[in-house]
Symmetry: C2
Subunit: 199 residues, 2 copies
């Protein structure tokens, strides 16, 4: 029996800066025949955080210890916050994850080498992953743009223009970046609601 | 003739981390009989940014080159973002500016000395300064809690729980911290609107 409805809470994941790498880049940074070492499963099935980290080197600054996420992808993607972009001296555009057209490049440093990427640096547009069943319960559809509300004690913030992404293997999870999480005053374990429902 | 109404745009100021110091602390950090050097007038009459900077030293980190704002106050106040609080290793509570009760302390370093403050570190609650005339035009009153919307290209964010502060000498200005500005994707020169008005 389904009891959850359109007012059900949606778990929030705060995405700290991270990189997705292709095999060619993994080879350049970590060495020939290197395999990423999974460290922790992530919310979406098959996705994992790795033991490996890289350093990001931009025109104005360097950020070390940036987590690699797996599995390897067909294209490199460097997901940072606006605070990170300012520290690196880059202008990282807002993009749906996976869309690296018209994004700036960056130098990556790994333990076995450095590699300059032509493109791939972006700020991920906030979005909600969900299954078709969750979409039906919440009354929304793939690519729909919704508002979600989060609460920090008695203080509320509403994120407008949140993109719904529906796929059979998606687990219900709203992804915000670290600036959005810090501005809202929330951490891992927080939940959000579709507006006009709670909190 | 007044043409502006409740839909008038409100200038936004993004407050980067900064400190307000009392004379005793200025003496300890910059030397006996030191006078702050005004560098730039700020939006609110009589307030200015100084040439002087200090370093903040917390249990987990250090942040250098933090601007001192003037004029001197009767109590020290260290205004940081949540990103800064995490970097310093502090838990900075959300407070209305001026309310330093129950806030953590911090070590300050200046060119002439160091001083440990017992309290004073906070994240400033977002707020809007305005004159009584602007309050009348916008249809709000002192201490009212409102929603404001900001836009970054086509992407909108709504800050709920924004406190209105009315005084005869206040100039219309909405103050957000750097996390809020970065999450919303806005810079100096941005404007916001009271909800349910634009954008």
């Amino acid at each position: 029996m389904e009891t959850a409805g359109a007012d059900m809470p949606i778990p929030v994941r705060i995405s700290a800066r991270h990189v997705h790498l292709c095999q060619r880049t993994i080879r350049a940074l970590f060495g020939r025949d290197y395999q990423l070492q999974p460290e922790k499963a992530l919310g979406q099935p098959g996705q994992f955080a790795c033991r490996e980290t890289v350093a990001l080197v931009g025109p104005q600054g360097r950020i070390a210890h940036v987590k690699v996420l797996g599995p390897p992808r067909s294209e490199d993607q460097i997901e940072i916050s606006r605070t990170d972009a300012i520290a690196l001296g880059l202008d990282a555009p807002l993009k749906l994850s996976g869309d690296v057209r018209d994004t700036p490049g960056i130098l990556l440093e790994g333990p076995a080498g450095r590699m300059y990427l032509d493109r791939g640096v972006l700020r991920a547009l906030r979005h909600i992953h969900m299954s078709p069943a969750d979409a039906a319960r919440l009354g929304v559809h793939d690519r729909q743009v919704v508002q979600v509300a989060v609460k920090d004690g008695s203080r509320r913030m509403i994120f407008d223009d949140v993109v719904v992404r529906v796929a059979a293997n998606f687990r219900l999870e709203c992804h915000l970046d670290s600036d959005e999480g810090n501005a809202a005053g929330i951490d891992e374990g927080a939940v959000c609601w579709l507006v006009p429902h709670g909190p």
